[in-house]
Every structure is written in structure tokens, then in C-alpha cells.
């Protein structure tokens, strides 16, 4: 059923299994113990990877393999996979899918990709178009740095508003029926651009998108923030978080139960990540390490997962374009 921009599922599909993989910095963060796979060598040199792009693909594959093992199904039983990443042309996902041989639709939503793939997977499952759907994404600090910023060994100073791209991957298996965390509704966001040009302040660039999607969702569903145990955004970081809370208070819907994935993956004070984490893998890892396990354990009952993405490229940034943002919302949990 469609209400405004929100698609509500009468028979909610479920997230039946999930897995997260991460690198060294993630292994030193507060969610380390919840990862399904962690490596100290995110270059995967021992596995024969020759560059960061291959390494990201391998990290993503680890997440998929672990997710399918937890779901106890072979990859041949997966009907379709929605995947995306930050590399140009989404190559990390393309090469992962080359190995897995699952029907595949590539998705680009920058750091919002986890919510976007999860939402698409839920729609496919809820409408009977597929029984088992994979939703996954990843990001790799080293692959992202060389594409969007400067070479790794180049000596440059990061501003306090900059965010740290996570080396992480997350995979969720959505099923049309069965046991798992229900996906109640999804809301695809509208692109918002409030003329932010600072590539080192992504949280500020993406905040209006998060606020817009939340406002659309609350209006369509007739709910307010207090109807949820928690509202997770990702990855606004500390600056974007402060801005979102200010904006939502202004709109008359103060967020007292809001958490941001960019502030959860790392210890922002002690891990030298400036304003927090970012990258498609950041919200994916927090979803699979914290949000879904807590929902499954009954520690959370009903939450919103709103992943945010900045939709510029290095080219548009250099051409002086402002940074458009997007946010997609997935409503998880709730009474069965």
C-alpha cells in the first residue's frame, strides 16, 4: 500500500539473516565484537589481492558468504541481489557478483546504499517478485580515498568536520516469509540540495535529505519520533547530527531517541576519525552489528533506519557544483 512517498507492506517481508565484515580501524571501535568477520590486513595481500579495489570486493564477498551461511542457504537459492558501493561504476559489487553468479541489479546511492538496497529487496519480497533477496553494500577507506581525495601516503591535514570512510561491508538476506526482523515500510527519499559546497562537511550536505525523508515518512504514516525506540541515521557524523536535531526541533518533531551510525561505528573522540564514520559500509555495518541484532533480541522493538548519501562526484565537485543529498528510510521491527 502506498501512502505519500511511503510503501507500507501488509505482509511484511523479514530480514532473515545478516552479516558484517570490517577492517582494522573497525576492529578497534566500539562495535568490534559484533562483526562476523574482521581483518587486520584490509588489503588482503595473503589472499592474492593486488589493489584496494579487489580488496573491497573480497571484503564484500566475505559478508555475503557469512550471511548466506547464517541463513543456511546456498547462493543458488538467492533470487536476486541488490548491491552497490562507492567505487566508480560500482565495480566492487560487479566483481563480487562475477564470483557469486546471482541475478544482480547494481545500485548507487553513495552512503545511503544500504537502506536503498534493503528497501528494494523488501519491495521485491513483499510483492512476491522474489522469495529470497540479498541487499548488500561496502566501502573501503583506501579505495575511496584515492578516488575522492588524495593518495594514501600524501601528507594532508583533515578538517574537524571531515568524516572517515569505513572499511566495511554488510549483507542482509530478505525473505518474503519466515522468521526474522520485519520490514514494515520503506520510503525512498527525494534529492535535497541546500547549496553546501564543502566536500569536507558531508554531514551538513546530507542533513536536509535526512530531515526531508523523515518528515515525509512521519506525515505519511501518521507517526512521530516518540513512536519509535530509536531512529538511526547514517552517516551524518557529529556535525550533521547536531544540525538534524536542530532542524527537526524546528519542525516540531524533536528527535530525543536519535542515533547516528557515523557516531556509533567508531569512538569519535579516541580514534582520530574527526566528525565520525562515513561510507556505504558504515551504516551497513551498524545495521548488521547493532540494529538488527538488537531488534532480533527484543532490545529494540521498532526503529527507523535512515541511511544518507551525498550524490556528487569528484568531477562535479571540481566543477563547482553543490552537493546533493539523498536519504532512504526503512522501518524495521514492530509487532508481528
Amino acid at each position: 500500500m502506498r501512502r505519500g512517498d511511503t510503501l507500507l507492506f501488509e505482509q511484511p517481508p523479514v530480514v532473515g539473516a545478516w552479516a558484517a565484515a570490517g577492517g582494522k580501524k573497525e576492529s578497534e571501535g566500539p562495535l568490534a565484537s559484533a562483526f562476523d568477520f574482521l581483518t587486520q590486513d584490509a588489503g588482503f595481500a595473503e589472499q592474492g589481492c593486488e589493489n584496494w579495489e579487489q580488496a573491497e570486493s573480497l571484503l564484500q564477498r566475505r559478508a555475503v558468504e557469512l550471511c548466506l551461511r547464517k541463513a543456511d542457504i546456498p547462493r543458488s537459492k538467492v533470487d536476486i541481489a541488490f548491491a552497490g558501493d562507492l567505487q566508480a561504476q560500482c565495480t566492487a559489487s560487479n566483481y563480487t557478483m562475477r564470483e557469486l553468479g546471482i541475478p544482480f541489479a547494481g545500485v548507487y546511492g553513495a552512503c545511503s546504499t544500504m537502506a536503498e538496497t534493503l528497501a528494494l529487496a523488501a519491495v521485491f519480497a513483499a510483492t512476491g517478485m522474489a522469495e529470497r533477496v540479498l541487499a548488500l553494500t561496502s566501502s573501503h577507506f583506501c579505495a575511496a580515498e584515492r578516488q575522492f581525495r588524495t593518495p594514501l601516503e600524501y601528507g594532508a591535514k583533515r578538517t574537524p568536520t571531515a568524516q572517515w570512510t569505513a572499511t566495511a561491508a554488510g549483507a542482509c538476506l530478505v525473505r518474503a516469509h519466515g522468521i526474522g526482523v520485519p520490514v514494515r515500510s520503506v520510503t525512498f527519499g527525494r534529492v535535497q540540495d541546500y547549496a553546501v559546497h564543502d566536500i569536507n562537511n558531508m554531514g551538513a550536505a546530507m542533513m536536509p535529505a535526512a530531515a526531508s525523508t523523515l518528515l515525509h515518512y512521519f506525515a505519511a504514516s501518521g507517526t512521530s519520533p516518540k513512536d519509535f525506540d530509536a531512529i538511526f541515521t547514517g552517516d551524518l557524523g557529529e556535525v550533521g547530527t547536531a544540525l538534524l536535531r536542530e532542524q527537526m526541533a524546528q519542525e516540531g518533531l524533536p528527535l530525543d531517541n536519535h542515533k547516528d551510525c557515523g557516531c556509533l561505528l567508531y569512538d569519535t573522540a579516541g580514534q582520530n576519525v574527526q566528525a565520525g564514520g562515513s561510507g556505504a559500509g558504515c551504516s551497513a555495518a551498524v545495521l548488521c552489528c547493532k540494529i538488527l541484532p538488537m531488534l532480533a533480541a527484543g532490545q529494540l522493538r521498532r526503529v527507523l533506519f535512515v541511511a544518507t548519501g551525498a550524490l556528487m562526484s569528484q568531477t562535479t565537485f571540481l566543477q563547482g557544483e553543490s552537493i546533493p543529498g539523498i536519504a532512504h528510510c526503512v522501518e524495521l521491527g514492530g509487532a508481528q
Partner: protein, 147 residues
């Protein structure tokens, strides 16, 4: 949504923490100064054996070599993350800006990777440095005509 770009710009200004300018400057001053002191020490050492011009050239070469060497294991990047302009401005920063893309883009091949990208960061300095020296050369020539 109750938001317009101008008001949002003010909100961002309030919410974004400023760079710690005093601390950054102190780091830049100390590290930049230390690199220059090291250079002077090397120059004095070379002066034992060589004349002034050659000692100066050898000092530049030695600093560039050391910066390139420190770039390989990532030490230069770690120092620069604190020192900022202190490591960027001296000749060592230039060396780092050439060596780091050479390492990074080796995966794309010797010609299309290393060769094409090696001056990706230093290129503008070379291009505009050459332009500036041309302009100054013309001015110098004209001043000579007048004077």
C-alpha cells in the same frame, strides 16, 4: 521543510567546529622549523667538503631523498596529519606530493598509472611556477630596459 540555503549556511557555521588554529600553527612552526634546521645541519656538513653552491644543491637532494624514503612506510603522512603546512611548505612536501601518487597509482601500470599520475598534485605547482618565472623574467627584462 522550514529551511532555506542562507539560514542553513548560518546553522552549519554554528554547528561546525573550527580548526584549532593555534595548535595547528604551533605544530607547523615546530615541525617546519625542525625540517629547515635539519637542512641547515646537512648544509654545514656538506660545506666541510664542498663549496657553497654545491653544498646547497646537495642539501636539497638529501632532503628530497629523505622525504621520499619517509613517504614509503607512511611516516611522512602520519607526521603531516599533525604538522599541516609545516610539512607541506618545505621542499620535503613537494617530494611527498610526487612520491605518494607514484605509489598509489602503480596498480594502474607504469605508463598510465605512475607516469600519468605522478605529477597529479605537484603538476599545478610546476605549471604555475614556470608561468610565474616567465612573467617575472619579462618584467626583469623590461625593468632593465627602463633602468
Amino acid at each position: 521543510m522550514k529551511l532555506d540555503p542562507r539560514r542553513y549556511d548560518e546553522m552549519i557555521g554554528r554547528a561546525s567546529p573550527p580548526s584549532p588554529v593555534v595548535r595547528d600553527c604551533a605544530w607547523a612552526f615546530c615541525v617546519g622549523g625542525a625540517i629547515c634546521t635539519l637542512g641547515e645541519g646537512l648544509r654545514q656538513l656538506f660545506l666541510i667538503w664542498y663549496d657553497k653552491t654545491l653544498a646547497g644543491t646537495l642539501t636539497s637532494i638529501a632532503l628530497i631523498f629523505l622525504a621520499a624514503l619517509c613517504t614509503l612506510p607512511g611516516w611522512y603522512q602520519k607526521l603531516a596529519a599533525k604538522a599541516g603546512a609545516g610539512t607541506l611548505v618545505p621542499i620535503t612536501g613537494f617530494a611527498n606530493s610526487v612520491v605518494s601518487p607514484a605509489i598509489e597509482f602503480k596498480a594502474e601500470g607504469w605508463i598510465t598509472g605512475v607516469g600519468a599520475k605522478i605529477f597529479g598534485i605537484a603538476g599545478p605547482v610546476i605549471a604555475y611556477g614556470t608561468l610565474a618565472s616567465f612573467v617575472w623574467g619579462v618584467l626583469y627584462w623590461l625593468l632593465g630596459k627602463v633602468g
